[in-house]
């Protein structure tokens, strides 16, 4: 289902993203395409090196965050809400341009500290169940948890269409679901903790091809 360009329901969002890419937005009336040209050229490979540091704010941003920075900074438009159809569509469209390309996983020196915090978080036990990410996705992948087979927990197919969600969803939505699963307090979207985990996941998944939009159960 994922490999079939047509049957993959995530492609509906990619198609929507392609339309938005050419649609003027904000008080500048500029479309993404106006500054970035054809996404197939300008956005190719971009998703392989996210999350990344935004030079202006010196903050760690993921692809969704970058799209929203372009909206507020360059289009003078409102930021799109987390998990809104339009934000998912644009980030999926951008990530799709890197489909098949390997995740770089390179951690630049200025992100080293964030990366280390992500690594620590990944190995930290959390929630009422007192479980760390690593205990499910590193030590027990391949085994079943209730009706689900635990995967190695990589982020290379996000945003992904989840049949359970009946929708496309971001990597942070998935991570929050894992927090919920171990009955831990879910960090807010864009919390440094989640971004740092994303950074660690990119390193952990280095070399894996981008699969966006993935399809998951």
């Amino acid at each position: 289902m994922q490999a079939d360009e047509f049957a993959n329901p995530g492609m509906l969002w990619v198609t929507r993203g392609e339309k938005l890419w050419r649609t003027p937005a904000g008080s500048t009336g500029a479309a993404c395409a106006q500054c970035h040209g054809e996404a197939a050229k300008g956005m190719r490979g971009v998703a392989t090196r996210y999350p990344a540091r935004d030079a202006h704010s010196a903050r760690l941003v993921n692809l969704e965050g970058r799209v929203n920075l372009c909206r507020t900074r360059h289009q003078k438009a409102e930021a799109l809400a987390h998990e809104s159809e339009d934000l998912l569509a644009l980030s999926a469209y951008v990530a799709h341009q890197s489909r098949g390309m390997p995740i770089s996983g390179e951690v630049p020196a200025e992100l080293r500290a964030s990366f280390e915090r992500g690594r620590t978080q990944y190995h930290k036990r959390i929630g009422q169940m007192n479980l760390a990410c690593t205990q499910c996705h590193q030590q027990n992948w391949g085994k079943t948890l209730l009706a689900q087979t635990i995967s190695q927990g990589h982020g290379n197919a996000y945003p992904t269409y989840r049949l359970e969600w009946q929708s496309l969803g971001s990597l942070q939505r998935r991570l929050r679901a894992c927090y919920f699963g171990v009955r831990a307090q879910m960090p807010a979207y864009d919390a440094p903790e989640l971004l740092e985990l994303e950074l660690y996941l990119a390193w952990r998944g280095r070399g894996l091809p981008i699969e966006t939009p993935g399809v998951r159960r």
Partner: protein
């Protein structure tokens, strides 16, 4: 309503062709409750029709049992160059349509 359709661009007369359509729609079943326990009104695409040069070649009536973002696939016989027109409506009365053309040779 956003949709994607796929019809072969070209076909030989008499050839059996595959037609696919996917529509972005929540297909709200009517059985779910919101966070306050209030029922969420049913809203599904209840009817979809495909016409080939004006002749109906496919019709689907859908209900609560169809997953979100329905994907339909069917076959038709290529007879003449022209157009496939898809039209559908949901319970809220919203309509959608999409079209694709085909060139038939031989």
């Amino acid at each position: 309503m956003l949709a994607r359709v796929r019809v072969p661009r070209e076909a030989k007369r008499g050839e059996i062709i595959e037609i696919r359509i996917a529509i972005q729609h929540r297909m709200e079943t009517g059985f779910r409750l919101d966070n306050f326990g209030r029922p969420i009104a049913k809203n599904v695409i209840n009817a979809l029709v495909c016409r080939y040069n004006g002749t109906e070649v496919f019709r689907a009536e859908m209900g609560s049992g169809i997953a979100a973002n329905p994907y339909l696939q069917f076959h038709a016989v290529a007879e003449a160059s022209g157009e496939f027109v898809f039209e559908w409506t949901d319970d809220a009365g919203e309509r959608g349509s999409e079209r694709a053309s085909i060139t038939v040779t031989g």
